[in-house]
């Protein structure tokens, strides 16, 4: 089937939880007003039953597909969303919202705190994946949608998928968690903590109070991102991409980036700081570390759920190894829920969920076909 691109799209904004109706967070603290940046693709059918919510990963945003006016690159999952694609916008109404705590239009630590009229910084409350999902539910309410045909996402997006199932089982018809886990393992927490320490060790971080100052914690955030990128690739994909290739003809016998892999990591790190807020990095990684929907917590006893699952893992993903996906499926089977599980053969590591488009499309497209809309 031929696929097409969506074309020009625009981010929209929805603000709620104004004083005195602030949102109560998992921590007990309150947050408000809250703005969510979101995009939609395709059109809502009459019964509002064709809605797919796409949840983004750590560094993602609401711009999942299509092009912004004047941009060179499309949204982060453009290969999956559009006419004839896995999430076919001729059939489905696709929504993607930036998470709270983020820095791409939704309320986060870089937003203005109405109490002080200055950016929140560390005054911003700690958030959880559950808080993120609750704000998404408010957006769905606002759009007049009762149930989601599907919630889908990779990595941290997958955690949001599972959280939707745990918090609003009656509002989800099918769920597609990809390259994710029901709980962060000590290894995953450890990598996040090293990233946070890198940010906080940067003197310019200044306890989170750096907005509007000439120095921002760019070095710290870049290092955090470099570590992240190592965990997103596999030994094999790094070998294939870089091997021991040098940037110049010979060793420089200095600490400049001799190897291509060094240059790549520096480039990725430097690029990231231009588009991402260091405090957001702290808040969002912490939200991931707090998730624990293992055992009964995914589907609390007594709560009825009639949800079909497609759980996807990738063979070379060592950051979210397939046993974690199998643990999710095990819980579903124990509860008698219908679940399909596939471990896609890929060498890309964790990044595979953004790259193995053909395989994911084959699975997702057919999985969704069971639901006529």
């Amino acid at each position: 089937m031929k696929t097409k691109n969506i074309g020009i799209v625009k981010t929209e904004y929805f603000t709620f939880a104004e004083h005195p109706n602030e949102l109560k967070l998992s921590s007990g603290k309150k947050l408000g007003p809250i703005t969510l940046a979101y995009e939609t693709y395709g059109s809502l059918n009459k019964d509002k039953t064709n809605v797919i919510l796409v949840a983004h990963a750590l560094s993602g945003d609401a711009h999942a597909a299509g092009m912004h006016e004047g941009d060179k690159d499309p949204g982060w999952w453009d290969a999956m969303i559009g006419p004839g694609k896995a999430l076919d916008t001729e059939k489905y109404f696709v929504i993607c919202a930036n998470v709270i705590g983020g820095c791409k239009g939704s309320t986060g630590p870089s937003s203005i705190n109405p109490k002080t009229n200055k950016p929140y910084g560390l005054e911003f409350p700690i958030i959880t994946i559950e808080d993120i999902v609750k704000t998404q539910a408010r957006l769905i309410d606002y759009l007049g949608i009762k149930t989601l045909l599907c919630v889908i996402g990779g990595s941290m997006g997958g955690m949001q998928v599972l959280q939707w199932v745990a918090t609003f089982p009656e509002r989800v018809r099918c769920a597609i968690p990809i390259a994710t886990a029901a709980k962060h393992s000590p290894q995953q927490i450890a990598f996040d903590e090293v990233g946070r320490q890198a940010v906080m060790a940067d003197p310019a971080w200044n306890n989170g109070d750096y907005y509007g100052k000439p120095e921002t914690p760019e070095r710290g955030l870049a290092v955090a991102r470099m570590i992240g990128h190592i965990t997103y690739m596999s030994d094999k994909s790094m070998e294939e991409k870089f091997s021991r290739k040098l940037k110049e003809k010979d060793y420089t016998f200095s600490f400049t980036a001799d190897f291509e892999v060094e240059g790549y990591l520096r480039y990725r790190g430097d690029n990231f700081v231009k588009r991402f807020d260091a405090n957001s990095y702290l808040y969002i990684t912490k939200a991931m570390d707090y998730i624990d929907l293992s055992g009964d917590k995914l589907l609390p006893k007594g709560k009825h759920a009639d949800i079909r699952f497609l759980v996807i893992a990738f063979k070379s993903d060592w950051l979210y190894p397939s046993y974690q996906a199998q643990d999710i499926v095990r819980q579903l089977k124990i509860r008698g829920l219908e679940a399909t599980y596939c471990e896609i053969r890929s060498t890309y590591g964790h990044d595979a969920f953004l790259l193995e488009i053909d395989e994911e499309t084959r699975l997702i497209k057919h999985f969704l076909k069971r639901h006529e809309v």
């Binding site: 079909r308 497609l310 199998q326 499926v329 095990r330 819980q331 089977k333 124990i334 008698g336 219908e338 679940a339 399909t340 599980y341 596939c342 471990e343 896609i344 053969r345 395989e359 084959r362 699975l363 057919h366 999985f367 076909k369 069971r370």
Partner: protein, 193 residues
């Protein structure tokens, strides 16, 4: 494609039951059972290329190895568990059968008969490992790990206190009734404990 074994298995299954197909391959059997017997079917399959085919048919399938057990399935959670042309390829055949009998109320097993007369001729007169319609592989390139006869399997069931409720034997294109251990290419048993 019309497969005799699929038809036989379909006839063994009560309508509207819950079925687990171990080593479900491309899901053809599950699809047939879903259509003809209105069963709710789930499969387990090791080969990833087959997983895609199952998903394309709208079937529910788990990508995994039955040799590691069926831990996530509670006791007697299926009306039928199917091991069609799978058991002889499992590393721990006994364990897999016991697990299948734990999670299923009834078990359907289908396997190739090593005592088929052409296999006997091949071994006895030619001194060669049999290659037959139901055992079509060379020794160096076969997925089969266990070679058993109908008689072997009946002995096994007796030893393990498994009751055989129905048995069907098939030849090249039709059922075999006379002297199955000699004339059947494949056997299909419906069993329970």
């Amino acid at each position: 494609m019309d497969r005799l074994d699929y038809k036989i298995i379909s006839n063994l299954i009560e309508p509207n039951s819950k079925v687990l197909d171990l080593g479900c391959g491309d899901g053809e059997l599950m699809l047939l059972l879903t259509k003809e017997r209105k069963v709710r079917a789930q499969g387990i399959e090791l080969d990833d290329s087959e997983i895609y085919k199952c998903v394309e048919k709208g079937l529910s399938v788990f990508h995994g190895d039955i040799d590691s057990g069926l831990l996530e399935y509670p006791d007697k959670s299926f009306d039928y568990v199917i091991l069609n042309q799978t058991m002889q390829q499992a590393k721990k055949a006994d364990f897999v059968i016991q697990e299948a009998l734990r999670v299923g109320k009834r078990l359907i097993v289908g396997f190739p008969n090593f005592a088929y007369f052409k296999a006997r001729i091949s071994l006895f007169f030619k001194g060669k490992t049999p290659i037959t319609k139901s055992l079509p592989y060379y020794w160096y390139d076969t997925p089969n790990l266990h070679f058993l006869t109908i008689s072997d399997f009946k002995d096994y069931c007796k030893k393990k206190n498994i009751r055989i409720l129905r048995s069907s034997y098939t030849g090249h294109k039709k059922s075999v009734r006379f002297w199955p251990n000699l004339f059947a290419l494949n056997a299909i048993f419906l069993m329970e404990r």
